[in-house]
Every structure is written in C-alpha cells, then in structure tokens.
C-alpha cells in the first residue's frame, strides 16, 4: 500500500465497515479524491485531505484508484461472524 514507506504518519479513520487511511506526507492536496467521492466522505484540511464523514463511505474506491500520490487507501472490513463465515459454510 506504499504505506510502509510512510508508516510513521498514517491517519486512519474507520467505522465497523470501512477503514480509510490517509498519508498526509504523501498527499499533495490535489482534491481529486475529494471531488470524485460520490458521497462526500472527504474534505480538505488546509493543504491536505481529511475524512469528513466516514460513515457515508460506500467503498467505491474512486478515491483510492485515482489518487496519484499513494495517499489514500480504503479497506472494507471483514465483519466477523457475518458474510465471511457465511461463505465458509
């Protein structure tokens, strides 16, 4: 995730379904992710990105895919005892 390279400074915001990780040192503040996010999860903190409302995230990956700077990563969380297990059956 290129996160290793900047591991010292990852800011993660999460809820039970999704985890959004930001790497401020890499973020150049281009606002691509902010503008492309369909549900306005993201916003700007002066010159870098911030998470405004993690709960709105629909994990569409638009932000991660089009961030040019390895600065935002979105992970869908495995919810224990639910879907994954179901698949196991």
């Amino acid at each position: 995730m290129a996160k290793e390279q900047a591991v010292e400074k990852i800011e993660a915001t999460e809820n039970e379904k999704v985890k959004i990780s930001l790497i401020p040192r890499f973020c150049k503040g281009c606002e691509i992710c902010v503008k492309l996010c369909p549900t306005k999860v993201l916003g700007m903190d002066m010159f870098t990105v911030k998470v405004v409302d993690v709960d709105k995230c629909i994990v569409c990956m638009a932000c991660e895919l089009r961030c040019p700077d390895f600065a935002i990563f979105v992970e869908k969380k495995k919810i224990e005892g639910t879907k994954d297990k179901a698949e196991g059956e």
Binding site: M1, A2, Q5, F26, K28, E31, L65, C67, P68
Partner: protein, 277 residues
Amino acid sequence: MAFNYDPYIRSGKLPHIWCPGCTFGIVFKSLLRAVDSMQIPKDDIALVSGIGCASRLPGYVDWNTLHTAHGRAIPFATGLKMARPDKKVLVVSGDGDATAIGGNHFIHACRRNIDITVIVLNNFIYGMTGGQHSPTTPVGHMATTMPFGNVDPTFNIPALAKGAGATWVGRGTAYHVPALDKLIVGAVEHKGLSVLEIINGCPTTHGRRNKFRTPTDMLLWMKETALPVSAFEKFPAEKTVGKFPIGVLYKGEAKEYSETYFAMVEHLQKKQEGRGD
C-alpha cells in the same frame, strides 16, 4: 484487500516529483497492479524511459530501470531486448518524448515488431520544460510556444503506430482505471510491439492554461470524452464528434523480431554444425 504497492516501490523514493493532481501517479499505480497480476518476477522486467515528467516513472519502480536521453528510450530498450530476448522490456514515454524527438525510433520499433511494450503517457504538452506545445496539443489550445492558440496539427498516435506496423495498439485514460489495468496487461502480454497511449492530464502546464480549473476537471473531461472502441465504432459519425475511442484499437499478426532473428541464428548455426561433420 487493498493492493500492496510496497514491494514495487523503491523505498524512500516517495513522494514522487509529480505536481499535485498530475495524473501520472494514477497510471503509475495501474502499471504496478497490472504487472503484478501477471506475476512477472522483478528481476525479469526492465522499464526504460526517455526524458520528461512521464519519463521519471522508472526511478520509483523496483525493477531494472533505465532513464535515458530525450526521445531515445526505444533504442536503448531494443538493445536490452536483443541482448536478453527472454526478458520483458517496457518503455514509458511522454507524448513529446515518444512522438516528437523520438518519433523515428517509435515508428521503427513498430516496423520491427520487436516484443517491447511502449506506453505513451500523453498529456498533450511538454510538461517537464514548462508547457510548450507537443505533437498532440489540440489545435487552439494555449501553450507557451503557441501563445495565440496552437495551429500545429496533431498526431493520432494509434493511427501512426498502426501505419508504421505495430501489431497491438490501444488507448486508455487515467480516469478509466480498472479498464487501464486490463489494457496494460493486454499490451504486455502481446508478443510483438505494443503501443498503449494513455490519456493524461498535466494541470500545471496545460490544464490551468486551458480552462481545466482543477486536476479533477481533466479527469472528468476524459470520462466524458472517451468511448469504448466498440461503442465508438457503432455510433453514427455525428455522435462521435469530439470523442475518442479507448480500448484495444488494433491487433495484427506478424512475426516478432527477436524470435525471427534468433531463429535465423539457430538455423545458421545448425547449418554450420552440419557442415562441420
């Protein structure tokens, strides 16, 4: 779940030098995902570039990488490939690098049909030198050397590649990311010369001078203007005005150069041994 880029990125080299909103970073990530999906060992692949913003890409990738002179990536790559025909050789180049100063090498690589993948990051401008018009700058656009609007006609890169003999020609954009991953896989898997033009946005030296207020505007322009080639071909002409097709635009059949060459070598060596008996 998310893709892990770390094994491919040279440690400590990020952040890269590209400007905020430069779409090269998007393509860069796509390239890593695509090649990863093909499971090519890192020691068996080389990435060669010329000079320009696009050409800075190899410096970040933990393969065998070579950053040559402006326009000359393809000859260097040809030397690598003919020296080690068993390895994968990719070229990444800018629109100016590949089609202005490097145009001759580009068409000759197409002619030879040597097994190299040439990825042209077309941002419609000379980014590195600050925004002079390139052979792909749209007519009418502002550039520092076309301050009254560009009057130079443009290349259609896929048409040029095809006319020169390339056997795999495709086009993608920095916006259409999942499709781009697949196109890169297709280009690299193709045995022969493949040319993949990737539409990019340079907010710093092109976009802001040409009414793309933000980097996102450039991506959205791609979204609106690109049509999958199948649709593009089916639509009536009036519906494709101002649009461009993306996807695999051309596939041809021809012998790959290094194979032909080494087949000749083998043939001659057998003949010689025979004679020796």
